[in-house]
């Protein structure tokens, strides 16, 4: 293990020194465990209908109450976690794989390639997630995998921008120049001097993107995209609660709070990573059209009028 690797490790340790980050890590860990073992751990069958126990409030038997068919809400939420988390990872993975390497490569592939790639990123960034995801289900078939594929494509420009900006910064550093003068190949420079430096910025973007993707899944399932009715999902629980507000007005708060806490934990993690990488490392170079809120704060900071 090199000196630098060790420093990165102690660095991620310092992220955990923040209490908010520690709570966030615990929440994310719980959600991941639920995603893997959720259906097995669920106290009751999430699909079992019980006509004698409709719209029950929380009780020892049903910790989070029952829904309009008497199904156990806790079990439905636990069993529904896997689909949400998996498809969120799908989207983030697509975004990372498409955007990250391209963001590094574009710096080394010349001006025209860079110009073209940036315009494509601009164009993709003008398409709102949900609209595009729903439109893609019209083309590729009504499925959550297809919809989140679309979300992944739209996450790619964010990864692209962040890696490109960071790469631009590091590729112009004097030690890179020195390495090139010493005869290092481009691949060596990218591997040793760029990729490792870009990783913290990618971590921030990944956490933010996962939060966005989870939100997108929850909302798409809320809209009823790609899931057949009895199958439990976070958004699905929320949307069926909405139909019976007069009978149990407080029911939607349970899935709502679950979604909000998970998304909030991921955003907190992103903030913790960002604080550690320090301000200024995550700036957007050449922001012709900026559309995503994760980038706007940095971009806006960069252009504060000098008075």
């Amino acid at each position: 293990m090199s000196e630098r690797d060790r420093r990165t490790l102690t660095g991620s340790g310092s992220v955990l020194r923040l209490p908010s980050a520690r709570i966030a890590v615990v929440i994310v860990a719980i959600v991941v465990v639920l995603a893997i073992f959720g259906s097995a751990l669920a106290p009751q069958n999430p699909l079992a209908i019980n006509a004698s126990a409709l719209f029950q409030g929380p009780s020892p038997h049903h910790l989070l109450g029952t829904d309009y068919l008497g199904r156990d809400v806790l079990s439905r939420l636990m069993a529904g976690t896997r689909l949400s988390v998996l498809t969120a990872f799908e989207a983030v993975g697509i975004g990372l794989v498409l955007g990250g390497p391209l963001g590094i490569a574009t710096v080394f592939l010349g001006k025209w390639f860079d110009f073209g790639a940036n315009r494509v990123a601009d164009a993709l960034m003008t398409l709102p997630y949900i609209f595009f995801a729903v439109a893609v289900t019209a083309a590729l078939g009504n499925g959550l995998v297809q919809a989140m594929f679309a979300v992944g494509i739209l996450l790619a420009p964010g990864f692209f921008r962040v890696t490109r900006a960071a790469t631009l910064e590091y590729a112009r550093a004097q030690y890179v120049e020195a390495a090139e003068l010493l005869g290092a190949s481009k691949l060596h420079v990218i591997r040793v001097h760029v990729v490792r430096k870009v990783l913290p910025n990618l971590a921030v973007m990944t956490a933010t993107a996962t939060a966005g993707a989870l939100l997108a899944v929850s909302f798409l399932t809320f809209l009823g995209i790609g899931v057949q009715p009895p199958a439990p999902t976070w958004g699905g629980v929320l949307s069926s609660d909405l139909d019976y507000l007069n009978l149990s007005p407080w029911a939607p708060f349970i899935p709502g709070v679950l979604i909000a806490i998970t998304v909030g934990a991921l955003n907190t993690l992103a903030d913790a990573f960002r604080d550690r990488t320090g301000p200024g490392t995550l700036t957007v170079a050449d922001p012709v059209i900026k559309t995503h809120s994760t980038l706007t704060l940095e971009a806006a900071d960069g252009r504060q009028p000098a008075a």
């Binding site: 609209f131 729903v134 439109a135 909302f219 007005p249 407080w250 704060l297 008075a307």
Partner: protein
Amino acid sequence: MAVAELTSAAGSIAPRRRRAWAAVSRIGGGLAILIPILLLSSLITYSLGALSNSNPAATILGQDAATPAAVAKLDKALGLDKPLLVQYWDWLTQAVQGHLGTSYFTQIPVSQSIAQRLPVDLSIAILAVILAVLTGGTAGTVAAIRRGGWVDRAVTLVCSAVSTLPAFVVGIILVVLFAVVWRVLPANGYVGPSGGIVPWLQHIILPSLALSLQVSADIARQLRTSLVSVLEQDYIVGARVRGLPYRRILVRHALRNASGPALTILGNDFPIMLAGAVAAEAVFSLPGLGQLLLESAQTRDIPVVQGVLLVVSTFVIVINLVVNTTLNLLYRSSDGVSA
């Protein structure tokens, strides 16, 4: 910058003319970027139809009538037998003139359906912008003036709480509180402004409020940060020493210079607002573009899907560009031609 202002104020007419040129060239530059982006995003939008493995002609004809000959004939009538780029170009030239084709199923022109739905989303979005500017602006300003006080801390706390809440969850909370528990506002439905201003507002206030919260939190945070740093500048101190009333200093000197980043946020958050409008439509059952998109996606009514996506992305591009160009002109033209 203070120096730059002095020099430009002392300058003759020539720099002013040059500045006008700079403005024109910046707007021109903006348009030069706008057109390729519009072309690209419309190409992506159009390609969705080609990507679909559905066979529109067969869908329209129905299972019984879809003989190969009939399908080929309808394909020709719909122009689906031409190469993709030719189809795209035909579609785009028609779209520029306001013709987005007709729905496969209802035969209603797509532009007509969109024109019917768009006012719903625009009402929500515009009211949300107004609410966000009012609440976010006020909260940010008060927090900056009373920096370190309890108001400041409360604003910071509420902002970080609000920004983790998804708009559709906020919307549901609002429905529960205002429509189910207190029964003061309608839970769903839409009444156009022609049905009376008050009913119209009653139907759009909750969705707008849900939509505005996150943006107003963003605005409050950004405005607070920049206002705090502006209020520490020498020229503010100078203005106070000269005895100008505080309110005037705040509005004319500080807010004017500090509002740039917050306005940028507002411009950049517009796509989020539009996406949020779909959420609001779903929660409050409003007949907007999002519902149109959902319905047509389910029936694979590709022309409608393409039309909605084109209109939405064009709105986003144009509004972003207008905001960014305006801000560039406002904040850079004052430091002369160099910018």
